[in-house]
Subunit: 624 residues, 2 copies
């Protein structure tokens, strides 16, 4: 067995009370903790704001900043706000006391840690004022601590006098209220406390859609095994690994500072994570937004070609598809006499030509290849390849747009790779409709069919990224425009919750034998939410039949193994839509076609009516 | 009885089919109709888009524009789009045929009438594609014809095989879907068809909140009275008057062109409207948005002073209040010996001084008046009044801010008029807290208490106005910013539906005897929707006790008769909230106070969570 990789795991030791700051940091460090999580206010100092102006009381509620250097404050300490206050109390005095306490603490916490972490424990979903007081003008990260399962629910199992509202018992709703009131502020993240009880799988998946930044583990969820070691249950171990894989989150361990097993907890967590570590080949791309390519309108650059040519799977599948098509079209008896005409439309820097040559060689079929490419920069590469590497091959290079190409003969096989993350979004239908006239009546197109898929999803991280693209003269203004909120994006969506399974949207078949070709489409899809959640938009995928049973797919249920060329598509909604468990989600999707552009429009008609997004392609036209 | 006023009523004659355009216009004019409403497409010309390109069929589907002049097209004709098509059919061919038909007609209609009217009849709430096709890039007004009561509902009373969804039977939902999909486009308005059945009152009130531009009357809702005249039922007459008063709408009469009573219908409608006409003294202000004044921060100008001084009621009530206070403070036995000190804080151009002088004279009490005014321009007027008109009165003019004023003696009565539409929004609490130190221990403040009120409301017209304030480089962009959507406005709200009754929000008492004065406030209010509706924001009002039982109020249930100085306040929500009948609406309202400004924040927590509006007063601070 190979040595577990030295991945970086950051663990903070949570202290209920604190006597001596430097000693505590030293003690935690010796026990293999990177930092300590401490109450910001010192217990000894009671505060009374109503009777006493802040000025005189200010220096007395906590310790001095001079105890540590700025770097130590930032890296070694997570400040925790008082949780004994109630900003949402119906009693005005209690509420005002809470507001003043938290404002004072927040101000001091930001003084100490600048852009660092501040921890706030959430105790209910009645938190509008709390959200207002604690999130205004945040500079650092407000870690909102939420238990995975409401302690009252556990209680309710054996107590009948417990009073909690239905729905309000779900701690996700606490968090959802808080961050909705805070307008999905990117500075607000989750510190999710693992509880002894583990919720249903779908509830865990919903948490995976949230911006979880830390996992909180209490020493009391550790079990003692036969060897007297503290261990986590199998289920808790799996959770730990799952959250670390999704978020690369850090950990906060709640334990008594005198607990003899302090070192063990830290080492055990690291051990579990390291021994279950799997490198994600797409690491680094997580939830990063990209604008979909428009290879038809823009000429791709060398860097982009190179990235796509590196796909370990795609061109092998193309090669297999061409090989099978060649075998089907030319019986063994004719391999010496019959030459198949292959047209590669959109040759790029030659990967499909290479696939076609390999297919010909493997199937021992004779081929003549026409390579059509409109990008003059790619033509340079193709010419060089043909003149040097492929000079003994029967290849003709044509520098033109495939829609205007006038070949001297008709093709047996038309090969193209104009597929985008949503199938038709790089305009393969429009291109292939133009090129298919050069196909023999029995000729085949590779790919011969592509289908797009959609599902509604909760993706606050993506949503916040899009929102933050809005430029504003005044940083405090809230700006939402169609320019960003109605665009479409490509992203490796990791931190997202899929509200329902994908459904097919549009289908395109090549060659298209309809008497009048119309590539506009309109489809209504109906989904259902299993849990309360927030819908931020729709994830899009595609699959494509290259030839017979050879397909490529980024549909999550049928994803081609190793295929790396496409991330999912994301279609945002202008404003997040709060959805209740059991509610139906009805979405309309249009593919619109005009003389010089193609675009998608979308809106929802349930659970509530939305305006139509990307009207006339105002945010994102795809130029023909 | 006086002659009914010659109000302008515009009536169009709706023609099912049309043979000769000019004749028809002439015939209608002779029957006292201003215009005719005609099908845009000519029945003789069947259209088939799928088989035939538009170019060749284009000139054949309707009549030529040369038949009339542009002005005639605009003023004499309302074009009606085909209603035999179905843009939301599940059958792709039917849908595409519908799209092409309507696009062609719309294009031609806009060619004919430019910014004029185009009529479209709505037949169901399944209209996402219809809304998309007919509202994109609208230049004119799209009149969406909707029956007040669904004909199927009437049918269902005696047929059991009628199939319609529950909820979908409400034609308001058809309209609401349509305009929600069309993003509350200001170009889209309602042509409401009065049906024989009249819905419940609250449903009628909901329609009064919508942008109704025309009322459609079919000849078959006319009854024949004993004298063989066609008349409307009393209920229909009342509806007619109500809608005309609210909207000044025009009318479309559906009748057979050969109907002998054509002239009578037109004359009858005009007769009903004229004989029930009541001039609204506020006419011209309807639903116009104004930014609330900040008289503390900005110096009011002469025009504004003049407008407010014209209020026929306000200063009489002030005078009465001062008079009663004088009588209470100085018994008859002391009227020769005791002089009451009145301080008018915020003297403006003197109306309160005048009220105080009148009160003194009427009560025969002696007064000394200090007039405090910070606006140097108003000081000019006040000096002139004191030196000329009031030179024998005991009046001292002090040119300063009332919060800094240091008077030589303490006052019996402190009179001010710093009230805004939401009571405290012109900072009366802050001002009076500063001035009240000059009051004798038993002195009184006029006003002595003010209370603000709120209720949720549907006000698409106001909402659209606010939305259209957003400036955009590209007219097609959808832009929503806090700058406008989180501001507060003052408006004479006529075209609005009040979702629930107002409730009290904040209360301020003067003088404020709290040991520590805190003018920040936080209140949570709970409302309930009786009908499906859309919430665009909250209407705000106030009432104020001047002295004892003398009050001024703009609360709709207790509105002081004739009081004209204040319109309602409007607090918008960033995005309209679709509300279902029976749903609870929970809103939080904050009054926030900082060293140099005061502002309101608000959000809703039910039926769904909204972000907090006007955070830190980003859209609308009220400067101290």
């Amino acid at each position: 067995m190979s040595e577990p990789p030295q991945i970086k795991v950051s663990i903070s030791l949570h202290q209920d009370t604190l006597y001596e700051l430097e000693t505590a940091i030293e003690h935690a460090a010796k026990s293999n903790y990177n930092s300590i999580t401490i109450p910001l206010a010192h217990r000894r100092f009671e505060r009374e704001f109503v009777q006493e102006p802040l000025k005189t009381g200010h220096n007395r509620f906590t310790r001095s900043d001079l105890l540590l250097s700025s770097t130590q404050w930032l890296n070694r300490v997570i400040c925790r706000l008082s949780c004994g206050v109630d900003c949402d109390s119906e009693d005005d005095n209690v509420r005002k006391q809470g507001e003043s306490t938290l404002r004072q603490e927040l101000s001091y916490a930001e003084h100490l840690v600048q852009n660092g972490y501040i921890l706030l424990r959430l105790k209910s979903g009645n938190c509008a004022n709390l959200a207002r007081v604690t999130t205004v003008g945040l500079k650092g990260v407000l870690l909102v601590e939420v238990p995975m399962v409401n302690p009252k629910v556990a209680q309710a199992n054996w107590r009948s006098d417990a009073d909690y509202e239905c729905g309000a018992d779900d701690t996700w709703n606490w968090w959802n209220n808080f961050r909705s009131y805070a307008d999905f502020d990117t500075h607000v993240k989750v510190a999710l406390e693992f509880t002894a009880d583990i919720p249903e799988k779908r509830e865990i998946y919903r948490w995976l859609g949230e911006p979880v930044d830390a996992v909180v583990l209490s020493s009391n969820i550790f079990l003692t095994n036969a060897n007297n070691y503290a261990v986590l249950s199998k289920a808790h171990q799996e959770l730990l690994v799952l959250f670390y894989r999704t978020f690369g989150c850090h950990f906060i361990v709640k334990a008594n500072p005198d607990d003899k097993r302090l070192v063990h907890y830290a080492d055990y967590i690291k051990y579990i994570l390291r021994s279950n570590y799997k490198k994600d080949p797409m690491q680094g791309y997580d939830d990063l937004l990209e604008i979909p390519l428009q290879p038809l309108y823009d000429n791709l650059d060398s860097f982009t070609y190179e990235v796509f040519e590196k796909d370990p799977v795609k061109y092998i599948l193309y090669q297999n598809a061409i090989e099978e098509a060649l075998r089907d079209r030319v019986p063994s008896s004719e391999i010496q006499t019959r030459t198949s005409i292959i047209m590669v439309v959109g040759g790029g820097r030659g990967p499909l030509v290479r696939a076609a040559l390999n297919a010909a060689s493997k199937s021992k079929r004779m081929v003549k290849i026409y390579v059509v490419e409109k990008n003059p920069n790619a033509i340079v590469t193709l010419s060089a390849l043909i003149n040097e590497l492929w000079k003994d091959k029967n290849i003709e290079l044509i520098s033109t747009d495939m829609r205007e190409f006038e070949p001297p003969e008709k093709a047996d096989i038309l090969v193209s790779e104009l597929l985008g993350s949503f199938g038709d979004n790089e305009l393969s239908p429009e291109c292939l409709d133009g090129a298919q006239k050069h196909l023999k009546p029995d000729g085949v197109s590779i790919p011969c069919k592509s289908t797009s898929y959609l599902n509604p999803c909760m993706a606050p991280k993506i949503y916040s990224q899009i929102r933050s693209m809005e430029k504003s003269l005044h940083a405090k203004d809230r700006i939402v425009t169609s320019r960003y909120m109605e665009g479409t994006y490509v992203a490796y969506l990791k931190n997202a919750y899929h509200i329902d399974n994908p459904q097919a949207v549009f289908e395109f078949v090549h060659p298209n034998l309809d008497p009048i070709i119309d590539n506009s489409r309109y489809k209504t899809l109906r989904f259902k939410a299993q849990l309360d959640c927030v819908m931020h938009g729709f994830c899009g995928y595609f699959d494509s039949v290259l030839y017979k049973d050879i397909t490529i797919s980024i549909h999550p249920f049928t994803h081609t193994k190793g295929l790396a060329s496409w991330f999912s598509m994301f279609f945002p909604l202008t404003e997040p839509v709060q959805v209740r468990a059991g509610e139906e989600i009805v979405v309309n999707f249009w593919r619109c076609v005009a003389s010089h552009k193609v675009w998608y429009e979308w809106n929802i008609t349930a659970p509530r009516q939305s305006h139509i997004h990307n009207v006339q392609g105002r945010a994102q036209p795809i130029w023909k």
